[in-house]
Structure formats: structure tokens, C-alpha cells
Symmetry: C2
Subunit: 362 residues, 2 copies
């Protein structure tokens, strides 16, 4: 179903998706909490308008006591607020050869907002999951055609994942009501996982008796070929990014940095454990040195890191960074090491082209 | 200086610019005031961090009394809040043949926020423009390389334009402090003009004795060829857009609409006068019918319009819309009628591909 291209050029479809689905400009890494409007977005269909005043969430299916919850009822429940790194499963796709045709992410499909909402587990317990329930299905108000099928955007979680601590129904982002484009008035937030499972504009929650086999569930799988059933895309692979140092060229985005010392800073995360090591390379990955790690704002936040880089000689450099997590997962050196048909979970080391001059413009 | 391509495919540079510089998803036309995070953005270099607590604006050059104004001092001055349509001068560029290589806008480089700030004119009067001042230069904190030259982003206005009513120094967008990506803590807002002149992250204002000839002033000109000195890009040409009806296909963005009546809605604007007519075509521009016009929220806002479209037969349609303003300016039918080397001011009629079925998925 996924079209693949060997072209180094991009199709108009990819460009139009990029214009609708912004990444976080990487200078946004300076903020521990990504400001609204700098956080990445992937809207599969259109941003729907859902009136918060008349909003009702239905919780049903294989439960003893179906619930209908207004926004006020949801806000009256116990609340948690937490920074959560959100990353699109397709981040890095456009660096693959051949390239799957979809949103042409390079490195920027990420952000870390503070999401506030109410835990999902107690709501499911209150509704009372029946014994034959095996998954929980989350359906959004966003509607369109994908894979030739008309659908509402929907994804399921196993009971274990749905009941996990940290999974919330969020109604605030960065201390404000959810903006329309981030799922107003209510969205699911599933920490540690890639973003596709954090269903926006939540319409209903339904306990179901069979594993869900909808289009989006089938689409997000690691497949080596078209016939390969593959395995599901779930948690975020370890990933470190740097805020590109110096100043950019408008078109090429090549960085111009003054000779001497430059503090390179960034953030790193993993859905499989805590980031325990970040390494920096000034020479395209030939040599690596440990970066200094900072403190986490919370269990689902990204970890700040910094590295004092000394550019002794003018010339061209390729700066790289890579993370290792507490589960021992590391980043690939080349994107194509993690090639798969959908272009998911690609987490090769970031590469930033830099020109070092005696002055910034040399 | 501008590279031109005849390729129907796009370069990686264009894609990376699109990922950093989002358009407004066109369903955002439903909002009279575009929410933060749905408004288009063009950041020439990086989003700089400027601390609002220590911020100072300097007003100098050919003035009797140079001023240094803190944010509190600016907020203590008379304030105005007004909806202003902001549109990138490059909107529509990617529909040109051949195509200038830059931000690959199609239709979406637009938004209408409520900007609050203090009028510029009284500040210039207080500083006291000297008789030999001919222009006012606005310099931002954003810095980079463009056209081979290291620069701060800067643009000038003639005294007449700088002193015009409606030109403000804005510190709020939609009732909140400016977000980083829109120019925090202070930006210029010049209504009626294309966006390039509304300098963000304002560092200084300077009265100058010669017309400014910086890179950005030279770049934004209507040129027919490389040798053509051209004419400056100034006010926004008339432009109407519709929120695409029905539901989209994820990749192609083709719209699926059910047979029968559909209310098509959108907004229209012009920097040369009031929009006085909006016309809708269901057949790619062969026949046109007048849309119903709504009320303006203010002199610099966009004008809502609507059209009751009846799709009698299933099949493929191309929906178009065009505006005419009170100065008699109209939109081109084909993009290439307004071709110029920078791809500026392109305002051909919007074209939306629609599949009409007996049901949405037919």
C-alpha cells in the first residue's frame, strides 16, 4: 500500500503534506517545554471542529456500565500534568533510500509539551471492563480516506497498555485548553509510544473482544517488504537531537560557526528506558565523546545534554549526536540500517553540516 | 540570485523549508481569528530567543531624541488590538512553471490573528524625525546568511508608510504575549502589506537618510528576468480561499463530497481595498456565480463568504474561487499569468479537486 521511490527529488504530495504538518524547528530544542506552534503536528485528515461546550465522550463496548462524560465531568476527576515527549513514528523517513512516500520528516517530528488531564485507568475501572474485553479502541472525530477506505481515525491499545500509569485523557497543553490542531477538546496521551497512538479529538472509547484490525493499526507496522506481516510500531526508539549551532544559510540551512569554542546543546529521549548516555561527534561519526547530561523534568520528558565543542580549524564539519538508553538500545549510524516499508522508528544519528570560519561568514 | 527549476519534482531544500515553515491548513479558514499554531510562519533564519524581562527597543538614527523603550514602557503607551490578515509574498510560488526555489507555498501561507500593540507613528514623532530622514529601517534579532551575505533580517519603509495609521509595534497575538515563533517579545505589524515587511523580534528602529538597499529589500521585488531591476513587493493582491469541503484522502488530499447540497465557505482579502465580490466556480473556471459576502471584523481582517453548491451528478469536479477588490483588482485565472522570478504576489484562483459520490466514499 505504501509507495516507495528511489528518487532524490520529492513529489508534490510530500510537499503539501509538509506544509500542513509542521515539524519543530530544531532551535526549539532550547525550550524544556515546547511552545504551542513550535511542536510538531501530524493531522491525518482535517483538523475537525468539536465544540467544547457540548462535548461528550462515550465509554462503552464490553463494559458493565457505559459512561458519557462531559468536559466538566472529566475536569472534575483527579488531574495530572506532565511533560511528555511526542514524536511521529515516521520521523527520519525522508532520509531513507528508497523512500516511502508520506509525510517527509527529516529530524523534526518531535516536541515535548506539558499535557494535563485525567488518568484513563480509573475511568475504565469505573466502567467495568468485562472478562471478554481484550483491547480498548479509541476513535477520533477526524475523518477521511486512507488506504482506499473511508474511516474515522482510530487505534487500539491492549488492556495492559491502556491501564498503564501515565496514560491520560488530556484537555490542556502547556496550561491552556487544547488548541484545535492538538485535539481540542480532548485527546489521548500515551507516554513512551510514538504519536500515532495518542488519538486526538477523541469521540469514543470502546472495550472490544477481538484485536482491532483497522487501517491505522495495520499501517503502523515494521515491514521489510509488502508481503511481510511485520510487527507493530509501539515505543519510541532512543533519539538525541542538537539545536544546530551558529547561524543558518536561508536555503541550504548549512550552519556558519565562528572558530573556537561553541556550546552545543540538545535533548534526548527513549520510550524503552531512561537516556543514560549521549555522545557527540565533530567529524561525521568517526570519533565520539560523551556529552554532559542534565536532569529530567519528569519520567516522560526529554533529557537535556550539552557538549563544549572546540572547532580548532576553519573548514567543513559534520556534527553528529547519538543516545543510548537504560535498556541498552542505541541509535543506528546510517538511516538505512533501520529501513522499513513505512519508514517508521528511524533513529539514525542526526547530521548537521557546519562551516567553521575565522568569523561567522568566512 | 534565485534558482529556477522546470522540474515537477521538488528539491530537499524546499521540503526542509516546508517542514520549518508551516502553512495554515485550509480548514483553518473556519476561524475568523486564526489560532496560534495554525497561522502560517516564515522564519528566514532561526527563531531567536529574546528575553522579554531585559528587552529594550532602540529608536535612533536621524532623530532629535533617540529613545530606548522597555516592554513595560511600550505596554504603558496607547494600545490598539486589531485582526490583520498576514500573507507571505511567496504564497502560490510552488504552482509556477518554471518554479523559483524557495519556500514552496501553494495556497496556505496566510492567517488572520488579532495583534495588539502600540502605534508606531507617535513613537517616531516623539523621537522627532530630522528633515533628512527618508526611510525608517527595522532590524530583527534573527540572523543568518542569504544571498551570500551575513545579515540581521531587516527591511525599511518610506516615512509615509511608517507613519500610516494601523502600523503598530505588537506585543500580543490573540490575547497572549507573542509566541517565540511570531516575534517575541515585539514585532512590527504593517497591515495591507505582505508579511516580509512586518519584521519580527524587533531589535531597533532607525531613521535613515538614503533608501535602504539591503538583501531583503532587494530580494522582494517583482522581476521578469535576472537583469530586470523590477518593482518592490508591497501590498497584498486580492485573494479568496475556500475551506475544502467534504473529507480528504490522506496522501492526495483529493476531497470526497456527498452528492447534493454542500455549503462551501471561505475568506477573502486584499491590501489594495475592500473585497467587494467573490465568485465560485464548480467547473474549473468555465462558469462563475457570485458568493454571499459576510461582514468584516475590521479594516485589515479577511472577509467571510459562502456559496451553496449543488453537486447534482457524481463525478470529478474542480472547485474554484476568486475575489475582486474595491480598487478593481481581480485574481489571475492561471498562476503563470503572474509569473515573476521570485514567485511573489501570485494570486491565481484556488483550485480544489473533488470527487462527488452518492456517498462520501463513492
Amino acid at each position: 500500500m505504501v509507495r516507495i521511490t528511489t528518487s532524490g527529488q520529492f513529489t508534490r504530495e510530500e510537499v503539501v503534506l509538509a506544509l500542513r504538518n509542521p515539524g519543530m524547528p530544531l532551535e526549539g530544542l532550547r525550550y524544556p517545554i515546547t511552545p504551542v506552534g513550535m511542536h510538531y503536528l501530524l493531522t491525518h485528515f482535517d483538523v475537525p471542529y468539536v465544540d467544547p461546550a457540548t462535548y461528550e465522550l462515550s465509554v462503552g463496548g464490553l463494559v458493565r456500565e457505559p459512561l458519557v462524560l462531559t468536559l466538566d465531568a472529566l475536569k472534575a476527576r483527579p488531574a495530572v500534568a506532565m511533560p511528555v515527549v511526542m514524536e511521529c513514528a515516521g520521523n527520519g523517513r525522508a532520509l531513507l533510500h528508497p523512500r516511502p512516500i508520506s509525510a517527509p520528516w527529516h529530524d523534526e517530528a518531535v516536541g515535548c509539551a506539558e499535557w494535563k488531564g485525567t488518568p484513563l485507568g480509573p475511568i475504565l475501572e469505573e466502567a467495568g471492563l468485562l472478562d471478554d474485553a481484550v483491547e480498548v479502541l479509541f476513535t477520533g472525530y477526524d475523518r477521511g480516506i486512507d488506504g482506499g477506505v473511508e474511516q474515522s481515525y482510530e487505534r487500539s491499545l491492549s488492556l495492559e497498555e491502556a491501564l498503564r500509569e501515565g496514560v491520560i485523557l488530556a484537555y490542556e497543553m502547556n496550561g491552556q485548553p487544547l488548541p484545535p490542531q492538538h485535539g481540542s477538546p480532548l485527546r489521548l496521551v500515551v507516554p513512551d509510544w510514538y504519536g500515532m497512538t495518542s488519538v486526538k479529538w477523541l469521540r469514543s472509547i470502546k472495550a472490544i473482544g477481538e484485536p482491532f484490525e483497522g487501517v491505522q493499526q495495520a499501517a503502523y507496522r515494521y515491514r521489510s517488504s509488502e508481503g511481510d506481516p511485520g510487527t507493530p510500531v509501539t515505543r519510541k526508539n532512543p533519539h538525541a537531537l542538537m539545536a544546530p549551532p551558529g547561524i543558518p544559510d536561508f536555503l541550504s540551512r548549512v550552519r556558519h560557526v565562528r572558530q573556537g569554542r561553541t556550546l552545543v546543546e540538545g535533548r534526548a529521549w527513549s520510550g524503552w528506558g531512561t537516556v543514560e548516555r549521549v555522545e557527540f561527534s565533530p567529524d561525521g561519526g568517526q570519533t565520539w565523546d560523551d556529552a554532559r547530561l542534565g536532569e529530567l523534568l519528569g519520567p516522560y520528558a526529554w533529557r537535556p545534554w550539552s557538549y563544549e565543542w572546540e572547532a580548532r580549524e576553519p573548514g567543513e564539519y559534520e556534527l553528529c549526536v547519538r543516545a543510548t538508553d537504560s535498556a541498552g538500545n542505541a541509535q543506528a549510524t546510517e538511516s538505512d540500517e533501520s529501513w522499513n516499508r513505512g519508514g517508521f522508528g528511524v533513529n539514525a544519528v542526526q547530521r548537521v553540516a557546519v562551516l567553521v570560519g575565522a568569523t561567522e561568514t568566512d
